[in-house]
């Protein structure tokens, strides 16, 4: 049994300023197994992978690799590769304008003179051997994403790898391509390669893996045989709840209002990133999209706001049919959107807190109607006070504020426009607990003041505490809708894991 082990990681710790990313994590990989590494965002999966591949130096613990005496010293990606660890990342890291063979052998030819003919022969052999549907002389960019992925795997395997890490390999593949990839993974498994499979797709884990290691908050939850860990229990383990311990949370009166008008209604709405879906929200309602990361919850609200190219569907605002194909049209119709990625989509880092607060309102007023400076200062002051934004002055560049305060600035930006319908995508991510509670309280207050709010959070407790209605998503589809008494952790997890929600 022990002879089967190709990789042992023991007591791995990694500290980043302010957070413990990994805390004494163990991980064991056996020959010829597909081992899924699971955990929510920030659980430490990618840190563990990066320690193993030499991108990060570990702070503590040991790594042993079959065939290497004593501790394996991995200080750089090159060390990892020499030790027989290969990684294929989510984004293809090959050169699309080179041929398949060139991509497979680039950087590993010996001497100055390269006989590409020989390498093409070798490449053809590998491709045939592994059943990868590509030709050696074909330009890589002419292959589908899945085939490119497989070429990357072929390159890794040929480098004599014992450990193959696949980091989210399926996230940009369609079902047929996923099946192709799985076939290749099984083929490699039968040849004795140990595969670490990182993914957010639960069903894929159950389809292809032998074992699952679950991480949470940088700590090891456990290692399980797939057959011994039902999907529902896996979700519970990832969220850090044992199934018995799912007590109901305190309840405020959170009945979906039935007597108020429908503020926003979409039917068959679809975007380049979201399959068609129906959705509506009433005045004074807080609802939310839930599901694991990658389930399509952000894509849903981005479609509503016109942030991604809208491809179809009909939208009614307060009963009147409107066209919302870009953010400006959404804003004019009283919709506000706080994006998921604060740094990339939210703040204008070099501009002042004041400019960031007034931005959306200013855009709505129009290009030819700049606000007076005194007016801007008044608005900025008002919201800095109201939301308790900690900043040296309103002239401070927003990029120098802490994450929580940056988030409040963006929140202020949208509150200032007095939207009828406000979408908050992960407003509480990466900010301290105090601010999280402030934001949740604010949402309830806004709903009381007749604003409609859609809220998305990776922390299910937050959503249960605030939402009147939850739309549950899995793999890009709506799989259930929960209201009233159904708003419990167990019900949400069951729905995510595949149980049917009872409507009613």
């Amino acid at each position: 049994m022990q002879n089967d082990v190709v990789l042992t990681m023991r007591g791995i710790s990694k500290q980043f300023p302010g957070t413990k990313a990994l805390d004494h994590v163990d991980f064991t990989l056996r020959r010829g197994e597909i081992h899924a590494l699971m955990g929510e965002n920030g659980a430490g999966k990618s840190t563990l992978i990066k320690v193993l591949t030499g991108v990060y130096e570990k702070d503590g613990g040991s790594i042993h690799i079959e065939g290497i005496e004593g501790e394996a010293a991995i200080h750089s990606p090159q060390d990892a590769q020499n030790a027989g660890i290969s990684t294929v990342y989510q984004e293809i890291t090959l050169c699309p304008n080179l041929t398949v063979a060139e991509n497979m052998f680039i950087g590993r030819t010996d001497g100055a003179i390269v006989h590409w003919k020989d390498y093409e022969k070798k490449a053809t052999a590998i491709l045939e051997n592994l059943g990868i549907p590509a030709r050696a002389r074909q330009e890589l960019s002419s292959c589908s994403l899945a085939v490119q992925q497989m070429v990357a795997i072929g390159r890794a395997v040929d480098m004599n790898c014992k450990v193959l890490i696949l980091d989210e390999p399926t996230s940009s593949l369609d079902e047929k391509e996923v099946a192709m990839l799985f076939k290749l993974m099984r083929e490699l498994r039968s040849r004795g390669v140990g595969i670490i499979f990182v993914t957010h797709f639960l069903e894929q884990v159950y389809e292809v893996s032998d074992r699952i290691t679950v991480l949470r908050n940088g700590e090891l939850v456990g290692e399980f045989e797939v057959s011994e860990l039902p999907q529902l229990e896996l979700v519970a383990r990832m969220m850090g709840k044992s199934l018995d311990d799912l007590s109901e949370l305190e309840k405020i009166d959170k009945h979906v209002p039935t007597d108020t008008e429908t503020v926003y209604e979409a039917s068959g709405l679809s975007s380049v990133a979201r399959k068609p879906f129906d959705f509506q929200i009433r005045r004074g309602e807080i609802n939310g999209f839930t599901g694991l990361l990658g389930s399509g919850r952000s894509e849903s609200v981005r479609a509503i706001f016109g942030a991604d190219s809208v491809t179809g569907g009909r939208v009614r605002i307060k009963g009147k049919e409107v066209r919302i194909t870009n953010p400006h049209e959404a804003m004019k119709n009283g919709v506000g959107y706080l994006p998921e990625d604060r740094k990339r989509d939210g703040i204008i880092a070099d501009l002042s807190v004041r400019d960031n607060i007034i931005l959306a309102l200013q855009v709505m007023k129009g290009y030819f109607k700049p606000m007076k400076k005194s007016e801007m200062e008044k608005f900025a002051d008002e919201y800095i006070r109201e939301l308790n934004i900690k900043t040296a002055s309103q002239n401070t560049p927003v990029g120098s504020l802490s994450g929580g305060n940056q988030q409040k600035v963006i929140l202020a930006r949208w509150l200032l426009t007095h939207p009828d319908y406000l979408i908050l995508d992960e407003p509480t991510r990466g900010i301290d607990v105090g601010t999280k509670l402030e934001i949740q309280r604010l949402m309830l207050k806004l709903a009381e003041e007749n604003m409609s709010v859609t809220f998305i959070s990776s922390e299910i407790e937050e959503m249960l505490r605030t939402c009147f209605r939850l739309i549950v998503m899995r793999d890009g589809n709506t799989v259930g809708e929960l209201t009233g008494d159904q708003l419990t952790q167990s019900q949400v997890m069951e729905t995510i894991a595949g149980g049917e929600a009872q409507h009613g």
């Binding site: 400006h328 804003m331 990339r344 204008i348 880092a349 501009l351 400019d355 959306a360 200013q362």
Partner: protein, 362 residues
């Protein structure tokens, strides 16, 4: 709440202008030591018997005009697109050709024909710049590459328009624009700079151009999610640059009373980019200060005139200029800024240590 530790320059509201202002001051100081006569302003009489101002300083202010105007437009394009337009000289040659051909074609040069030709000139420059803008904003081609097209073929287009000749005009109105208006001793191009500056100032005051260009330049994705159209904003900046190029080409034409497609506004694109950089503006886009670029234009011209006054020939001037410019640009570079910040921290930490020790001793 406001921190009291903001720097001396910041409190004066100077900020990024510190380096260009210092550079300008040093140039003045250098000339003062070298030859105080450099600053002499004389009143000459021109051919038609009117008084005109002369001397090195006047020469700087006058000959920097085209550069200053184009630098203003370049600042906006840089801010919104994070890249530069290298075709301004070539497009200037085209619009100048249109201007002079129309003037000659209409025969009689008076206020009416002049305005008609000027409007056509502006329309031409704006149209060509919108072509660049389309490549940059819609097709998302890097500005340097997109504008390389007109950079390489613009002067050929000018050559077709002028019909291979060097068209000349001779009119007191043209001289009045290119040199001086009778009775006013200050060169007219100086007033043109002020006029363009005022027009831009009004645009900034009455519209959200500054907020929009900066937002798009800093974070295009976020700007779009706040309802700003990055395409429209980038087109706008190219349009304004077109206007600036047209005015500069009119000045350059009137100065010489002729258009030579080969030499008019030649190499001005590089100086304009340099002016933007010397003014402390990031060539990567985002926040900008127009005054910095204008100051940059005058520094470059001041440098040229200084070197000329020192008797360095015009071929060697470029090498000398390069040395000085390396120093100015390096002084404003992030690496040097970090060193200075680190040095300041060490110094203030040292002072604190000394204070603590002093306190303990007493």
């Amino acid at each position: 709440m406001v921190k009291k530790t903001e720097g001396f320059w910041k409190r004066l509201g100077i900020g990024q202008l510190a380096i260009p202002l210092t550079a300008m001051a040093l140039l003045f100081l250098f000339n003062l030591i070298r030859d105080p006569g450099f600053f002499e302003v004389v009143v000459n009489t021109n051919n038609s018997g009117n008084p005109v101002l002369g001397g090195n300083l006047i020469s700087v202010i006058n000959s920097a005009s085209e550069l200053a105007i184009i630098s203003m437009g370049m600042t906006l394009v840089t801010a919104a697109c994070g890249g530069q337009d290298i075709s301004v000289g070539a497009v200037g040659a085209i619009s100048a050709s249109v201007f002079i051909k129309l003037l000659i074609g209409m025969g009689n040069i008076n206020a009416g024909t002049l305005i008609a030709a000027a409007l056509a000139c502006v329309a031409t420059a704006v149209a060509f710049m919108l072509f660049n803008g389309t490549l940059v904003s819609v097709f998302k081609i890097q500005p340097m590459i997109a504008t390389l097209i007109l950079y390489s073929c613009g002067r050929s287009i000018a050559y077709w328009i002028t019909g291979s000749a060097t068209p000349q005009v001779d009119s007191p109105i043209i001289t009045a624009i290119g040199m001086t208006i009778p009775g006013i001793p200050v060169p007219t191009p100086v007033f043109m700079v002020i006029l363009v500056g005022l027009i831009l100032a009004v645009i900034f005051k009455r519209t959200n151009t500054t907020l929009y260009t900066q937002s798009v330049g800093i974070n295009e994705r976020a700007a779009r999610l706040n309802g700003i159209s990055p395409v429209a904003v980038k087109m706008l900046t190219f349009g304004l640059l077109g206007m600036c190029v047209a005015v500069a080409s009119i000045i350059a034409t009137c100065r010489m009373s002729q258009v030579s497609h080969k030499t008019i506004l030649v190499d001005i694109e590089m100086d304009a980019i340099l002016a933007v950089a010397i003014g402390g503006n990031s060539l990567g886009g985002g926040k900008f200060r127009m005054s910095g670029s204008i100051l940059g234009a005058y520094i470059i011209t001041m440098l040229t005139v200084t070197l000329l006054a020192m008797g360095i020939n015009s071929v060697n001037i470029k090498a000398y200029k390069a040395v000085v410019i390396i120093i100015i640009v390096a002084a404003g570079s992030p690496a040097i800024k970090r060193w200075i910040a680190a040095w300041k921290r060490r110094k203030s930490a040292g002072e604190k240590d000394a204070a603590v020790k002093g306190g303990a001793a007493s």
